[in-house]
Structures are given as structure tokens and as C-alpha cells.
Symmetry: C2
Subunit: 290 residues, 2 copies
DNA sequence: CCCCCTACCGTAAACGTTTACGATTATATC
DNA sequence: GATATAATCGTAAACGTTTACGGTAGGGGG
């Protein structure tokens, strides 16, 4: 009869809205659309709709979103946190809204997280570079205060020490997780005299790696002979024949699906998933940049 | 006092939810995240939250989403349509939900659209190729039934006839708007004997162009000397030094902002914007592939 | 034939707000 | 000091559902 039930009224009485919030820092980084697609595909199948909340790495906006989503009575939350300052996140967790964190764990008692083993991934990447004979390997990082970055740095450090290499602080630089930051940092690194230059760089994500590569090439050096580069994420464009970026792959789409199904369990009241840290295995995919 | 008003209850009585729906065909195509970011930035500023609805080019899913969003009482809709079959879209328009279409106009009386001048953009691209001496130019398109594709094809055809060139049907191929489709089509085109081969291709979007380039290179040809390639959209990765794709640029982020502000006007009851077709100017950015 | 149980239908309360209206109190002006 | 106006407070209805409960009717069994 063309009758459409009013989901708002239903939500009011049923106390569930069949709606979840997805908070991510940068939808412009192809990593996130891929996991968002996984989340969404799983969500529609389960009859849920998702609010897209892109924070542009802005913690304040993240907090505003958190409040808005609470007010909109979302049944659950999937968050890729934008900041290490988690007081507002803790508030949400304590409020009882079911939440799963992606891409980054949160320092809070029983938070549920789906994350890649960042230190292992980074370690594999750097050990691969060492294996290939590199001794001066730079770390080009994203935001220093983000644990993803810290863990990847830790893997880097660990790989060095595992192989008896000293950590050279001057080769460790951080900025943001964007391409221009990689470009900027690499240009700085290339300013030092040739003998002090690194021969390889491990970038904390693929966007950074792309910026690094650009800087390297613009300085007349070639890749990988003068400078090997490996990234992290394996975004789709890493596999382009012109790029062929060696990188640590994350199962992005599946992470999204897993994130939703885990959230679903949480929402169904499954204590089982509560507080679980699901650690996924990274796989180093070797292409031509390193 | 920690009191959080219940937006659901508010929505019920106020008959507005401060919520809009965004329906797009493929969030994995970097074009869409960029416009989504523009929409979102404008939306948060105005106090709105946006439902992300990714259809994967599936018309049925689009229709399902449309119903869900109606039921969820969204105040407005921004749609990048996935199909030319618009009966369900017409239903929505007639239902009075304020809607603006992006990236593609809809064949319905007074629909409001924000679109790039596709035929002009394509024409510019192809005329540029002709200027560079190309006579056999292929068209590698996306979905045939999508008007975006038809309009770009029309621009292509027009450029040819403007320059006294005959349209060679065998050089016009369509598939989907994805990279693998471009790759597949180009491989087919390259199967014909060398003398019948095109010397240039105009691809209906950048993803297709990337696939085309891959196929060309894998066939041992070089770009642009053996095969010139120009795309459409100017996604961020088109500007990578390794890619340097010549392409027709769209103001993606600004289109998003404009889409939201236009929708806002519609929602405020502004008859002014109703039924308006806003046609944006493309700009050909010349890089190194063509 | 009467009673009991079941099934169905309709009615009312509840969900958490907003808004409008009425009443009460305060303030200012004459 | 009295009246008129303004401001404040509280109350009730409304938004569109769901759910629970009570009542009625019908059917079956004693």
C-alpha cells in the first residue's frame, strides 16, 4: 500500500536504531574506503545503516562526532581513532555503547580492537631491507602521537637491533600520514651529504612512501638502486605497474567485515568478544621499490 | 550535568533529523571519497550527519537504500546514481524528499543536479589528442547505460567530427568504470594488427586510464610515444610522478561542498535551487601520458 | 447446553522530546 | 495601591510506532 514505517518512531520505542557510526581519520587515504566498504557490505546484510564520520585527523571533531552519534542513539560504533588522547573515547566506552576499534588499539581496560600486528609487519619490512644489504635505513613516520606509528617504529627498531644495527636518531622522522609529509621529510633527509644518507626508507604507510618516492626521484636518484622504499597498507595503487611499491599488506576489506561482525556480536550481548584484541597477520608483499 | 538529548525523540516531534543520505556507486574510486569529504565538511558545519550508502554499482541495492533512508526520515539526499533505470529515483523525487544529484543528471522533470560538463570535457581531451597529431583514437568507456559515459562518448564523437575524422566503431569499447575493465579492454584493442591499432585512447575515467596504461606497458609499448592516454576525473594519484596522467579535472571537493549547500537551500524551502542543473567547467590538465 | 480455553482484535500506555497554552507570580506604570 | 503587562513555570498534547493487556467472540469439550 506504499506504507513506509517510520524508523524514527520505531527507534524511539524499540531503543535500537539499526544504525552504527563509523569514525575514521581520513577517507581520502584509500586504506579507509576499502575497510569502509567491508563494514558497509556486512552492515547492509544485517540491516544496518552507517553514519560516515571523517575527522580529518582532528581530535576535537572526533569528540563532537562521538556526542552527535550518542545523541542519535547509534547501536554501535566502529572507530579508527584520530588521536592518542582517549579521555573522550573512554567516556563512550564507559557509557556502554558497543564499540570496536580498528586500525589502532586503545589504551582502555576492555576495549575490543581489530588491528594488524604493526610491530611484526614493520619488523618484517625492515628485516627484508637489511637482508638486501641495507645498513642505513630511515624511518619516515606519520603522527608521532599515534600508536600505529609508534608500533611501526618499534618494529623498525627491533629489526635493527635484531641485526646488530645501531639506531640512528637522525634517520627517524615523523610528520603526518599524508603524501606531502613523506615528500617533505624525504627532501630533508636528502639534504645531508651523500655519505650520511640512508640507502633505504621504511615509510609508516603507503601514502608516505609515495611522497618519499617522489622526493627521491626529483632529486635525480633512482629506486631501488639508490634508495629502496617500502611502505605499509598495500593500497590498491601500490600495485600499479608504474609504482610497484613493496609494502606490508593489510586485509582491508576483510578487516572491515570482521569489524562489523565483531561489533554485531558485542551488540547481541556477546560477552565473548568484549575486550578482545584481534591481531591480524600482516604480509610483506615484495614488488620493485625495495 | 552530562545530559544528552535524545535526537531520535527530537526527530520524531520536530520532523527533521539533521541527517542526510549520501548514495554513491563506488567508494573505492578515489573520486568519490574526495566529494564525500566536501559534503561531509559542509554537513558537519551545518550540524548534519551523513549516512554513507555505497551501492557497488548495484541498482537493486540503491533502491533498497533509498527505502531505508526514507524510513530513517533523512532530511535530504545526495545521490550519485548507479543506474540509468530511474523509476525508483523518480518515486523518491515525487515523494518530496529534497535531493541533489551529483556526477550525473537524472532524466526527471525538476531534479537538481551538480555535474561537470562531460561532453565539453571529453571534447577538450580528444581535441587535444587530435592536435597532437593523433588520428586513430580509441574510446575506453565505463558502463554503457550510464549517462556520464554517454556524454563523454558524445564529446569524443563531437571532437572527431569537428575535425573531420570518421568515427570508427571498432575503437569504441565499454565495460565498467573500474581499472580491471580498462586493462581488459585495452588488451583487446591491442590484439588487432599494429596498423589498425589506435595511437591514442581517451578513457572515461582515471581508473580506466590506469588499466589502459598497464595493458599498454605490458604489451611492450611505451607511453605516450606509442600510445597516448588521457583520463577523466583527475584523482589524486593521477599526479604522481610515476603516473603523470593527462586528464580532465573535476573540482571534486568543491563539488561536494556545493552539493551540500545546494541541498541545504532546497531543504530550507528555497524554490530557487529546485530543478536547477548546475554545470561545472572541466579543465584539461596536461601531463605526460598524452 | 454450559463452561472453559484460545485466538483475535482493539485499546492504551510508553518511548523522550517539543511546543503551545494556561496559570501564577512578579514588575512597572498610572 | 490597583491594574495591566510581562515573564516564568508547569502541564498536557503531540510525534508514529510497539507492546502488553483486557475483552469479546468463537470453537471445542465435558
Amino acid at each position: 500500500m506504499g506504507y513506509q514505517p517510520n524508523a524514527i518512531a520505531q527507534g524511539l520505542v524499540k531503543k535500537e536504531t539499526k544504525t552504527i557510526g563509523l569514525i575514521i581519520p581520513d577517507i581520502t587515504n584509500p586504506f579507509f574506503p576499502e575497510v569502509a566498504r567491508g563494514i558497509e557490505d556486512a552492515a547492509v546484510e544485517a540491516g544496518y545503516t552507517v553514519f560516515l564520520c571523517n575527522t580529518n585527523w582532528n581530535a576535537e571533531r572526533e569528540e563532537r562526532y562521538l556526542n552527535v552519534l550518542m545523541q542519535k542513539q547509534v547501536d554501535g560504533l566502529i572507530i579508527g581513532p584520530s588521536s592518542e588522547e582517549v579521555s573522550h573515547l573512554g567516556k563512550i566506552l564507559d557509557s556502554g555503547i558497543k564499540t570496536v576499534f580498528i586500525s589502532r588499539a586503545i589504551n582502555h581496560a576492555n576495549s575490543t580492537c581489530i588491528i594488524i600486528d604493526n610491530v611484526l609487519g614493520a619488523q618484517q619490512a625492515v628485516e627484508y631491507l637489511i637482508q638486501r644489504g641495507h645498513r642505513k635505513i630511515a624511518f619516515v613516520g606519520g603522527r608521532e602521537d599515534i600508536s600505529t606509528n609508534r608500533e611501526r617504529l618499534q618494529g623498525y627498531t627491533q629489526a635493527l637491533s635484531n641485526n646488530g644495527l645501531a639506531l640512528d636518531e637522525s634517520l627517524v622522522k615523523t610528520g603526518s600520514f599524508k603524501r606531502d609529509s613523506g615528500y617533505f621529510i624525504m627532501n630533508q633527509l636528502l639534504k645531508s651529504e651523500a655519505c650520511n644518507r640512508p640507502t633505504a626508507v621504511f615509510a609508516a604507510n603507503d601514502l608516505l612512501a609515495l611522497g618519499v618516492i617522489q622526493a627521491v626521484k626529483e632529486n635525480g636518484l633512482s629506486i631501488p638502486s639508490d634508495m629502496a622504499v617500502v611502505g605499509f597498507d598495500d593500497i590498491e595503487f601500490a600495485s600499479l605497474p608504474e609504482i610497484q611499491l613493496t609494502t606490508v599488506a593489510q586485509p582491508k576489506y576483510d578487516m572491515g567485515k570482521l569489524a562489523f561482525s565483531t561489533l554485531m556480536e558485542l551488540m547481541r550481548g556477546g560477552g565473548y568478544s568484549s575486550g578482545r584484541k584481534i591481531l591480524l597477520d600482516p604480509v610483506l608483499v615484495i614488488r620493485e621499490t625495495g
